[in-house]
């Protein structure tokens, strides 16, 4: 989880700093530190906030035509960090006799596959060079993203 957060934060910060935006890059690093501290203090709700901030930062970077690879890596790192933080929170309820190791193993495998798939598709889209999307596809993607964000907000409220 720490590795995911570090990957995401470093990628985003690097992407921003490459474009000469050192102050936002520092804020991103600061957010990463706060996220790690929050996780250490078991403030699991913060991971949802951090993920939203990272997505917005990455989207802003893409909109400003920063190097997309760092933005995608940033988003992916944030997503993995959020997922594993949430998983760690769920594991807190496990009894010492429960098969926690097995669950961890399976979850990591699944998340790894999903992340690899997401990254692969993103890479593919970059290779195929979709420069412009049709309005319908964009609306569909926006709806999907909105659905995801709604779920995130709902989860945030539950904590």
């Amino acid at each position: 989880m720490v590795l995911s957060i570090l990957t995401g934060i470093v990628s985003l910060a690097y992407g921003y700093s490459q474009e000469g935006l050192a102050d936002p890059a520092r804020w991103i690093v600061l957010m990463g530190i706060v996220w790690l501290l929050a996780h250490w203090r078991r403030y699991y709700w913060f991971s949802s906030v951090a993920l939203l901030l990272m997505i917005f930062a990455a989207a802003y970077g893409v909109w400003r035509e920063f190097p997309a690879v760092w933005m995608i890596l940033g988003t992916l790192g944030g997503l993995l960090g959020w997922d594993l933080s949430d998983f760690a929170m769920r594991l807190r309820y496990a009894a010492p006799t429960d098969d926690v190791e097995g669950m961890e193993r399976r979850h990591l495998a699944r998340v790894g596959i999903v992340a690899a798939l997401g990254l692969g598709l993103a890479y593919l889209s970059a290779v195929v060079q979709f420069r412009r999307l049709t309005f319908e596809v964009a609306v569909g993607l926006i709806l999907l993203t909105a659905l995801g964000l709604t779920r995130l907000v709902m989860r945030l409220r539950r904590y």
Binding site: W63, G102, S125, A126
Partner: protein
């Protein structure tokens, strides 16, 4: 804005894949069943009871299920955990065991809560699975060898309570003229020697069963003291011990818990009645209400006329009048009174003012008990630091026949 940049599309893809994977692998149907097994359903306070919960999955594969057995209030976990994070493949079962302990009471287990997450934790659903179970924590029942009572009226069946009527029995009742059919050993030769032609026979007191109503005083103001200490548990123990002893002797016993409301256990005989009374005592809680704040509203009509009433109460000064009225109505009354003064003194810091105050209150109490006794009510003043069975043996057991014969 008819088009969106490809970079944004690539950025969205990992998120979209993640969400799609979450929704795609979400469980289709959640069909969980739960069974519960308790290794004992009737225990004494603070005994450990093992609870085993088995969850069976009749629906689709569930990767992550957080199962929590909902515990009734007041029960505490002694060992193990009532919450587990488990994986349940289709058709499989999972069991977990933990032990609980609790104070006197009746506890109902109702449901097991299960929170089902998909593989990635994107979707989460909570279900409540019915798994009923009951646990009764009964008060400890002390075995009393004998509780001597003398109601004015007894029932027709043979028992151990003196019936105030001559007949066959063990206690001497009187002398009457010898009747044909009387056994020769019944002839009182000493009395017969005073007359020339007549024989006299000894008559013994009949022993029968009686109706006994036990009134357990659960009024908050008589039982609750500072720092959360309560005399009520002692009263409950006394009521349980007396009920057990009287039922064992074959009497018909009823129980009235006089607290926030009335809880009436209809009189009955034997082991079934013992169970009923113990159930009622398990549920008994002290409580306060305007209506039942004094004993004046005690519904004495519930008890058969001239029967024995045993009141278990710390007693207040204002209880004297209702007790006298009960006596005037023809009931034989025995007041078992756990001593509230000594009880409260046992946990207070014994400085001079406390000792002085306790002496004053103890005097008041002694005065009250004397007044109650003068009204013809038998009183058992119980210092709760002493075991109840010993107090009863000393004060309420009828002396053996040989001692009574010599007038002791």
């Amino acid at each position: 804005m008819a088009t969106v940049s490809g970079g944004m599309f690539a950025l969205m893809l990992p998120l979209v894949v993640y969400l799609l994977a979450g929704f795609l692998f979400a469980p289709d149907e959640i069909k969980l069943e739960a069974t519960r097994h308790l290794n004992a359903e009737r225990v004494l306070p603070h005994s450990e009871v093992q609870v085993t919960v088995t969850i069976t999955n009749r629906g689709s594969y569930l990767e992550e299920v957080l199962v929590e057995d909902v515990l009734p209030a007041d029960l505490k976990i002694a060992s193990g955990l009532n919450r587990h994070l488990i994986r349940l493949p289709k058709g499989s079962s999972c069991a977990f065991t933990y032990t609980v302990t609790g104070p006197r009471g009746g506890y109902g287990f109702e449901k097991v809560r299960a929170r089902v997450n998909d593989h990635l934790g994107v979707t989460s659903r909570e279900v409540a699975i019915e798994a009923k179970g009951q646990l009764f924590v009964f008060p400890p029942v002390m075995r009393l060898r004998r509780v001597a009572i003398r109601p004015r009226r007894t029932r027709v069946y043979a028992g151990t309570i003196p019936a105030r009527a001559g007949g066959s029995g063990t206690d001497f009742f009187g002398v009457r003229e010898y009747q044909p059919g009387d056994p020769p050993r019944a002839i009182n030769w000493r009395a017969s020697a005073h007359t020339l032609n007549e024989l006299y026979a000894n008559e013994y007191q009949q022993e029968r069963v009686a109706d006994v109503g036990i009134v357990l005083d659960g009024r908050l103001r008589t039982n609750e003291f500072a720092l959360g200490h309560s005399l009520f548990e002692y009263s409950v123990q006394a009521a349980a011990a007396i009920a057990d002893a009287l039922l064992t002797q074959g009497n018909r016993v009823g129980l009235l818990v006089y607290a926030m409301f009335l809880r009436w256990t209809v009189p009955g005989y034997g082991k079934v009645q013992r169970e009923r009374i113990l159930h009622s005592l398990a549920h008994a809680r002290p409580g306060g209400s305007e209506v039942f704040s004094n004993l004046g509203n005690l519904p004495t009509q519930l008890f058969p006329p001239e029967s024995q009433i045993i009141l278990v109460s710390p007693l207040l000064a204002e209880d004297l009048l209702p007790l006298v009225q009960m006596r005037a109505q023809g009931y034989q009354v025995l007041a078992v009174s756990p001593d509230p003064v000594k009880f409260e003194l046992s946990y207070l810091k014994k400085d001079q003012s406390v000792i002085l105050a306790s002496r004053v209150i103890q005097l008041e109490r002694r005065l009250l008990l004397q007044k109650v006794q003068r009204a013809g009510i038998q009183v058992l003043d119980w210092d709760v630091s002493e075991p109840f069975d010993q107090v009863v043996m000393r004060r309420l057991s009828r002396p053996p026949a040989r001692l009574r014969a010599v007038g002791r």
